[in-house]
């Protein structure tokens, strides 16, 4: 006896909807990555620092290309070597009347928590952090769950506001949420985190 075919879920990997389907010959970033890049631009971030991750590589490529940069950097987008210093460098911008964003992956919160709490949060400095998630659905690394599955709870426990995005909403929603999270950070004078679950979108989940 054979099982009946399982109908595809809307937006599931390999079953992209019209709004997310990669078009033949498309040269730009996949729509979800493009949406993250657009949301970061719309967020009002003057400078964007990133700590590399395969999931956010297309985001960085899109941001750098939009600025006319090369080699992973532009005038307003640049790499940093660790999440802790990213909180210090980008988190300090409001002291100079500007606003920063960090793009990273969520296991980096293990490196960043002391800076995030005792500097950004304690000094009431707005910062937008967009982090792709590891350790959820689609994750292949058996160790990374140990930290990453707890990230939303950890951040919540520490009073850091978190918004989550996943396959259940389209690229337009991702863009809007990220942009508005930047406004929320400035409005609350606090760091704000957007966790992006790329699994079952057109992006790389792990």
């Amino acid at each position: 006896m054979t099982s009946p075919p399982v109908p595809p879920r809307p937006g599931a990997a390999g079953t992209a909807t019209a709004s997310t389907a990669p078009s033949a010959g498309r040269t730009g970033p996949p729509p979800y990555a493009a949406a993250v890049a657009a949301g970061l631009r719309d967020s009002g971030a003057d400078l964007i620092g990133y700590v590399p991750s395969a999931s956010v590589a297309p985001v960085i490529t899109a941001l750098v290309a939009a600025d006319g940069g090369t080699g992973g950097s532009s005038e307003r987008v640049f790499p940093l070597s660790r999440e802790e210093e990213a909180m210090g460098v980008l988190g300090a911008l409001p002291l100079a009347g500007r606003f920063g964003a960090v793009v990273m992956q969520d296991n980096g919160f293990g490196n960043a928590l002391t800076a995030l709490t005792t500097f950004n949060a304690a000094y009431h400095l707005p910062l937008l952090v967009v982090a792709n998630t590891r350790g959820g659905l689609g994750e292949y690394n058996s160790m990374i769950h140990t930290l990453c599955q707890h990230v939303p709870g950890l951040l919540d426990r520490l009073g850091i506001r978190v918004f989550e995005l996943d396959r259940r909403s389209g690229p337009g929603d991702w863009r809007d949420v990220i942009a508005e999270a930047g406004a929320h950070a400035r409005m609350t004078f606090r760091p704000v985190v957007v966790l992006t679950h790329f699994w079952s979108t057109d992006g790389k989940g792990a």
Partner: protein, 203 residues
């Protein structure tokens, strides 16, 4: 030269510059010497002073403006603290903010944690900065510090002033118990006014 002597010299030379200072004894002693709104005291986050100063420097820097509208952004670091976040050196060398000056007060011990020796007893942190692309100046005594600091202000690019000091904290310096929000706000307001003032007087 003791730390507090070095801080007296630095305080006299930085009245118009933004200063980010590392936590614990260094912040306390600087506040005891001169508690001013241009001082951003990091009450915790050991190792972050250089990163915070880098962010402020990038936030103020304007392409082609060399030292930026308000001159150098000064980080006052300790050797133990720098060793907690040595990334600040390659990051500064990579991003090359023209208006960043880090003053390392190197006493080769963790001054706020019982004087336990740091790697600086064997590692020359100035050479680490040099290898990362910073312009490095050195000072040991008060006169050398005054002179080197003045020279550092004239250089463009990330500058690292490596100052050898004696171990030990100044006695009877009160703890710094201010609300960090107040520290941030007064620094931010001071820097805003200073930037506006510089814009008005710019040629």
């Amino acid at each position: 030269m003791k730390r507090i002597q070095a801080l007296q010299i630095l305080a006299a030379a930085t009245a118009d510059l933004p200063v980010v200072v590392t936590c614990a004894a260094t912040s306390r002693e600087l506040a005891a010497v001169a508690d001013r709104p241009n001082h951003l005291y990091l009450l915790d986050a050991m190792g972050l002073a250089g990163s915070v100063a880098t962010g402020i420097a990038l936030g103020l820097e304007r392409p082609g403006a060399g030292n930026g509208p308000v001159g150098k952004v000064v980080a006052i670091e300790g050797d133990g603290s720098l060793l907690m976040n040595p990334n600040v050196l390659p990051t500064g060398g990579f991003l090359t903010p023209g208006n960043l000056l880090m003053v390392l007060l190197d006493n080769q011990v963790y001054g706020s944690t019982a004087g336990i020796p740091t790697y600086a007893t064997r590692i020359d942190l100035g050479r680490l900065a040099e290898a990362s692309g910073w312009s490095v100046l050195r000072a040991t005594g008060p006169e050398e510090l005054r002179e080197s600091f003045g020279r550092a202000l004239t250089l463009t690019g990330p500058v690292f002033l490596h100052v050898r000091i004696e171990p030990g904290n100044a006695p009877d310096v009160p703890k710094l118990l201010e609300d960090p929000v107040v520290i941030a706000r007064r620094f931010q307001d001071w820097l805003h006014d200073r930037t506006e003032e510089a814009a008005v007087t710019a040629p």
